[in-house]
C-alpha cells in the first residue's frame, strides 16, 4: 500500500479525536450523539470509510436498518484494509445469524489487526461453525497475546479437546495449573477446572492418575462438587476394576438412594451387570444384594422396584404383591406406568393380573364394611390400576366397566376421568375422550396439567378452536392468542398436536405452518449457544459447556424436530404431486375470508405482537435486556411480518419451491444418527427422487430398507415407485446411470413386471392392513384403474384383519356400510368426510 493512499484514510488529530469519541459513544449505545459525531467528521471527510461504517452501525441500532447496512457496505469498499470496517461488517452479519460470512469478515479484520475483541468473537464464530482447527489457532494467538488471562489457557485446552487432540488439551492444562499461585480453597471456578482436567485424563484412559488427582484435590477441598466427586470416583474405580468400587457406589447410595443408576453401578461392581431397562433378569445373588440395600434404605422405592426385575416365579409374585399392595394403600397414581415395563415378560404380566384381581376382592370386602380395615380409596386405586392393566392389553370394554364402577364410587377423582378419556382415545372415540378429560379439568381448574391434557385431547378430536380456548385459561393474557404464547414459549406439544389436528381436518397448509414453527424454534436453539462460547470460559464451567456443544450437535435428532421435518416434507411432497390440493384449499379459504375479514386482522395483530416480543428477546437472564438508550433496536433484524398466515403460499412454492423447502427440513436429519428411523429415509427418498437426485434417493431407500426390512409396506411402495420412474429416465449421464442401475437391481432383484411384483406382495401380506394399503398405493402409482385400487382398499373390510389403519378414500360412504364390531367405539369413521 502506498503511503499517500494510506494517509488519505488517516484523519487529522481533531477528527481522529472525534472518531475515538464516536467509538466510545457507540460502546455506551449513545446512539443519537454518536450519529451527530459521525456526521461532524463526514462533513469534512465524506469519504472516510471507517466513519461511514460506524455511522451505518449506529443507524442499524436505531432501527434504520437498510440505510445503515448500505452505509456499512459503502464504508467497507472505501477502506478495505481497515480492521474496523471489517469488524463492523462482521457484527452486522453476525446479527443476521450469518455465521459463515461473519467469520470471513472477522478474518479480514484480523489480517490488519490482531485485536483481542475481534479474536474472541472469531473464536465464538469458529466454535459455532465447528471449525475446530482454526479455533485452536485463534486460541493460540489469544494466549500468546495475553498469557496472564486464565481463561486464555483454558480456552486453548478446550479448543484442543474439541479438535480431538486430548493429549494437547492435557499438556496445556498442566502448564496452566503449574502457573497458578495462591488459589483460595473452595473456589468454584478452580473446582470446575479440575473436574475438566480429571475428565480429560479419564478420556485418555489414565484412570490411576485421574483417581489420585481426584482424591487429593477433594481432600484439599479444591473440588467442591460432592456429587461430581463421588460419581467420578465410583466410575474410575469401576474402570480400574478396583475392589473399592462397590464401596464407592455405596457411598453414592448413601447420598441419594433414589438413583437407579447407582444401584446398577453397585451391582455391576459386585460382578452382576444388569442390562438397562430389561423387564426380567433373574439373578438370586444380585437379589440378595438388593434386599440388604432395601433394609438399609427402607424409604427408597428404586431398590424395591429393581427386586421385581431380578426375581422370577414365586419370589417375583410375593415381591410384586408387597410392592403393589403398599403402593395402593399409599395411593400412588403412577403405579401402573411404573409397572408397565415388566409386561414384556408374559409371566410377569399374568402374575400381576392375578395379584391385582385378588387384591380387588380383598379390598372390596375390607372397604365396604363400615369398620373396614382399609381406606375406601385403596379399593378405588385398585380399580384404577386394574382398568389400566386391561386397557394396556387392548381390553377396552373391560377397562371401561371397571372405571364406571370406580366413578360411581368416587366421581371427583380427576385421575379416573383422565384415564377414561385415554381408554376412549385408544378405542378411537376422540370426542368422548376429550369430554372425559374436560370433566377432570373442571374438577381442578387450578391445575395446568389437566388443562394441557384437555387441550391436547381436543386437538386429537380436531377441535382446534375449542383447544385454543382451553389453553387460553393459562397462557399470557397480553399474547395475541394462546397459540402465540405457546409458540413463543416453544411448546412442542402444542405445535405438534395442533399440526396433527390440522392434518386430520384436511388443512395441510395450516399444519405446515406449525411444523415450520418447530423448525424455527430449533434454529433458535442452535443460535442460543452462541453467547455461551465466551461466557462459559469466563465462568470456567467447562464440563457443562462441553456437554452443551455435544447436545447441540445432535439436537435435531430430538423427536419433535424429526416429526415436524418428516410430516412437513410429506405435506410438501403431496402438494408437489397434486397441485389441485392447494387450489381447492385456496378456494375454500377465499370463501371463508370473504365472509369474515376478521381472521386477517387478527393475523396482522399477531404479527405485530410477535415482532414486539422478538425485539424484547435476548439478554442472557431471560429478562428484557437493559436498555442503554431507549432507541436501541439491536443488531438482529426484526421478525418480518407474516405474509402467509394461511400457509398457502408456502404450499404453492411461492418464494421457495416446495421441494426446496422440504429438503431444507430434512437435510439436518442426515447426519444425526437416525439410521434406524424408517420414516426419515422414506421422506428423504420422496424428496430426493423428485428433485432429480437419483443417487441420493436410492441411497435413502437402501437405508429405509435396512431400517424397516424389505417387506415394510412403505418401502414396498417406494421400490415400485423407483422402478416405475426409472423406466422413464433416458438422458442420464455416466457414471450416475450405471450406479443407479446397479442400485435398482439390488432394490428390485426380481425379473417380473412391477404389476406382478405388487400383486405378489399383496398376496403374501393380505392379512396385514398396512401392506394392503401399500399395495393399493403401488397400483395407483402403476396407473391401475380406480376400481382396482378401491377394490384392494375395501378388501380390508371383508376380512377379519385387525383394522388399525387410517384410510382416506374418495368413496367414504362405504365405511358406514362396513361398520365392524371391533371398531364399535370408534367415532372416527362416523365423521362427515372432509376433503
Amino acid at each position: 500500500m502506498s503511503k499517500a493512499l494510506a494517509n488519505k484514510k488517516v484523519l487529522p488529530s481533531r477528527e481522529a479525536g472525534l472518531f475515538k469519541e464516536l467509538l466510545n459513544l457507540y460502546e455506551g449505545r449513545q446512539l443519537k450523539k454518536g450519529l451527530k459525531t459521525a456526521d461532524t467528521i463526514l462533513k469534512k471527510f465524506p469519504e472516510h470509510g471507517e466513519t461511514i461504517c460506524m455511522k451505518g452501525l449506529v443507524l442499524v441500532h436505531m432501527g434504520r436498518r437498510e440505510e445503515g447496512i448500505d452505509l456499512v457496505k459503502k464504508g467497507v469498499r472505501l477502506d478495505l484494509t481497515s480492521h474496523i470496517v471489517w469488524h463492523v461488517f462482521g457484527l452486522i452479519q453476525k446479527g443476521e445469524k450469518n455465521y459463515e460470512e461473519a467469520l470471513k469478515s472477522y478474518s479480514q479484520a484480523l489480517r490488519f489487526d490482531k485485536n483481542i475483541n475481534i479474536l474472541r468473537d472469531a473464536a465464538s464464530l469458529q466454535t459455532q461453525l465447528r471449525s475446530y482447527e482454526s479455533l485452536v489457532e485463534t486460541r493460540h494467538t489469544l494466549l500468546r497475546l495475553r498469557p496472564n488471562l486464565r481463561q486464555h489457557w483454558v480456552g486453548l485446552s478446550v479448543a484442543h479437546y474439541l479438535n480431538g487432540n486430548l493429549k494437547e488439551a492435557k499438556v496445556v492444562l498442566e502448564k496452566y495449573l503449574a502457573t497458578l499461585k495462591n488459589v483460595p480453597s473452595h473456589d468454584v471456578e478452580q473446582s470446575e477446572t479440575l473436574l475438566y482436567y480429571i475428565h480429560v485424563l479419564e478420556e485418555l484412559g489414565e484412570y490411576t492418575e485421574a483417581l489420585s488427582l481426584l482424591d487429593s484435590h477433594s481432600r484439599n477441598r479444591d473440588i467442591v462438587d460432592k456429587t461430581a466427586i463421588s460419581e467420578t470416583r465410583a466410575r474410575l474405580l469401576t474402570k480400574l476394576s478396583s475392589p473399592e468400587a462397590s464401596e464407592a457406589w455405596h457411598t453414592l447410595l448413601e447420598r441419594n438412594s433414589d438413583c437407579h443408576t447407582y444401584y446398577l453401578g453397585y451391582l455391576a461392581s459386585h460382578g452382576h451387570p444388569i442390562p438397562p431397562s430389561t423387564p426380567s433378569h433373574p439373578d438370586p445373588d444380585a437379589l440378595a444384594l438388593i434386599s440388604s440395600l432395601t433394609t438399609e434404605f427402607p424409604r427408597a422405592r428404586a431398590s424395591k422396584r429393581l427386586g421385581l426385575v431380578l426375581s422370577e416365579g414365586d419370589e417375583f409374585k410375593s415381591r410384586a404383591e408387597e410392592y403393589i399392595k403398599g403402593s395402593l394403600v399409599k395411593g400412588i397414581p403412577s403405579l401402573f406406568s411404573d409397572l408397565k415395563s415388566l409386561y414384556t415378560d408374559n409371566a410377569k404380566c399374568t402374575a400381576i393380573e392375578e395379584i391385582v384381581e385378588r387384591l380387588q376382592v380383598e379390598f372390596k370386602d375390607a372397604s365396604s364394611s363400615p369398620k373396614g380395615s382399609e381406606e375406601p380409596t385403596t379399593y378405588l386405586w385398585t380399580l384404577y390400576l386394574l382398568a389400566q392393566h386391561h386397557s394396556a392389553l387392548g381390553r377396552h370394554s373391560k377397562a371401561l366397566e371397571l372405571l364406571e364402577e370406580a366413578l360411581a364410587h368416587t366421581p371427583t377423582l380427576p385421575e379416573l376421568h383422565i384415564f377414561k378419556g385415554r381408554v376412549l382415545k385408544r378405542a378411537g372415540d376422540y370426542w368422548g375422550a376429550a369430554a372425559c378429560v374436560n370433566e377432570a379439568r373442571v374438577l381442578d381448574g387450578q391445575d395446568r396439567f389437566l388443562n394441557t391434557k384437555t387441550g391436547k385431547y381436543l386437538l386429537r378430536a380436531g377441535c382446534v378452536k375449542e383447544a385454543g380456548d382451553v389453553f387460553g385459561l393459562f397462557t399470557k393474557k397480553d399474547a395475541a392468542s394462546p397459540g402465540v404464547d405457546l409458540e413463543d414459549m416453544q411448546s412442542m406439544l402444542y405445535l405438534l398436536e395442533e399440526a396433527r389436528a390440522h392434518e386430520t381436518n384436511g388443512q395441510p397448509n395450516l399444519a405446515l405452518k406449525k411444523y415450520m414453527a418447530v423448525k424455527r424454534i430449533y434454529n433458535e436453539i442452535e443460535d442460543d449457544q452462541y453467547d455461551f462460547h465466551g461466557y462459559c470460559l469466563r465462568k470456567f464451567n467447562i464440563m457443562t459447556y462441553l456437554r452443551m456443544l455435544k447436545w447441540e450437535d445432535t439436537v435435531r435428532s430430538q423427536a419433535p424436530y424429526v416429526t415436524a421435518a418428516v410430516n412437513g416434507a410429506n405435506i410438501l411432497v403431496a402438494s408437489y404431486d397434486d397441485p389441485e390440493i392447494v387450489k381447492s384449499l385456496a378456494v375454500a379459504h377465499e370463501q371463508l375470508s370473504s365472509t369474515s375479514k376478521k381472521a386477517a386482522k387478527k393475523a396482522k395483530k399477531k404479527a405485530a405482537v410477535a415482532a414486539a416480543a422478538a425485539a424484547k428477546m435476548g439478554g442472557l437472564d431471560g429478562k428484557t435486556p437493559q436498555q442503554h438508550s431507549n432507541e436501541d433496536k439491536g443488531l438482529e433484524p426484526p421478525t418480518a411480518k407474516d405474509e402467509d398466515p394461511e400457509g398457502l403460499k408456502a404450499l404453492t412454492g411461492e418464494g421457495t419451491p416446495v421441494l426446496e423447502q422440504a429438503w431444507k427440513l430434512l437435510q439436518p436429519l442426515l447426519e444425526v444418527g437416525l439410521e434406524e428411523n424408517v420414516e426419515v429415509w422414506l421422506a428423504v427418498y420422496d424428496v430426493a427422487i423428485r428433485r432429480g437426485r437419483y443417487l441420493q434417493a436410492v441411497g435413502a431407500l437402501e437405508k429405509a430398507k435396512k431400517a424397516g426390512g424389505e417387506e415394510h409396506p412403505e418401502v414396498h411402495v417406494r421400490v415400485v415407485d423407483l422402478k416405475q420412474r426409472a423406466a422413464t429416465l433416458s438422458d442420464l449421464k455416466e457414471p450416475v446411470k450405471s450406479v443407479l442401475e446397479e442400485a435398482i437391481k439390488k432394490l428390485y432383484p426380481v425379473e417380473v413386471s412391477p404389476e406382478t411384483f405388487n400383486s405378489q406382495y399383496l398376496q403374501k401380506h393380505s392379512q396385514d392392513p398396512k401392506a394392503v394399503i401399500a399395495a393399493a398405493r403401488a397400483s395407483k402409482i402403476l396407473n391401475a384403474p380406480v376400481e382396482e385400487v378401491d377394490g384392494t382398499v375395501f378388501s380390508l373390510l371383508n376380512t377379519d384383519i385387525n383394522l388399525s389403519v387410517k384410510v382416506r378414500s374418495p368413496s367414504p360412504p362405504l365405511f358406514h356400510l362396513y361398520f365392524r364390531s371391533d371398531v364399535a367405539m370408534c367415532t372416527m369413521y362416523r365423521t362427515p368426510w372432509s376433503p
Binding site: 438413583c259 437407579h260 406406568s337 395446568r448 396439567f449 394441557t452 414459549m489 456437554r547 431471560g622
Partner: protein, 155 residues
C-alpha cells in the same frame, strides 16, 4: 424413579414439564443459562424410560452487597401430575439445597409461591420448613399475590 443432577440433555424435558405444569414459562435460552452458570444445583426426576417427570431449577442470587450472604433461589419446581405425592418434589428440593450449600456455601434459600397454591405451600412450609418472609402484591402476571419464602440453612 431416578433423582439426579440435571444435565443439558434434560433441559428439553424440563422445559416441556414446566409448560405442562405452570403458567410461568421460559424459552430454551433461559434454561441453558442456568445450566451453564450453576450446573450443580438443578435436579430432575426421571421415570424408568428416562422421561423427565419432575425438576427443580435453581440459581444463586446476585449479592446485593458484599455483606449480603450468598443465597440460592428456586426459580421453578414441578412434578407431572401422575407422579405427584411420591415425595419427588421434596427430594428434589433437598438435593438442590444440599448442593447450594456445599458448592456455593449458600446460607439461605428463597422462592416465590402463589398464595393459593396449597400443595406447594404444604411442601415448602410443612415439609421443608420455609418461612414466609413477606407478601409481594400482584407478583404474578394474572394479579395474584406471592409469598416470598425463605429457608435458613445451617451446617
Amino acid at each position: 424413579m431416578n433423582i439426579r443432577p440435571a444435565r443439558v440433555e434434560d433441559l428439553a424435558g424440563m422445559q416441556a414439564a414446566n409448560l405442562q405444569n405452570l403458567p410461568e414459562n421460559y424459552s430454551m435460552k433461559f434454561w441453558l443459562y442456568h445450566a451453564m452458570t450453576w450446573p450443580q444445583i438443578s435436579f430432575v426426576a426421571e421415570d424408568h424410560k428416562g422421561r423427565i417427570v419432575g425438576y427443580v431449577l435453581a440459581k444463586i442470587d446476585d449479592q446485593e452487597s458484599s455483606e449480603d450472604p450468598v443465597h440460592g433461589h428456586v426459580n421453578s419446581i414441578s412434578v407431572l401430575r401422575s407422579f405427584r405425592r411420591l415425595g419427588l418434589a421434596n427430594k428434589l428440593m433437598l438435593a438442590s439445597q444440599e448442593a447450594m450449600r456445599s458448592v456455593y456455601k449458600a446460607t439461605y434459600v428463597t422462592l416465590h409461591v402463589r398464595k393459593s397454591n396449597k400443595a406447594a405451600l404444604g411442601l415448602y412450609r410443612d415439609s421443608l420448613g420455609f418461612k414466609v418472609d413477606k407478601v409481594e402484591e400482584k407478583y404474578y402476571a394474572d394479579g395474584e399475590d406471592a409469598y416470598s419464602m425463605r429457608l435458613t440453612m445451617t451446617d
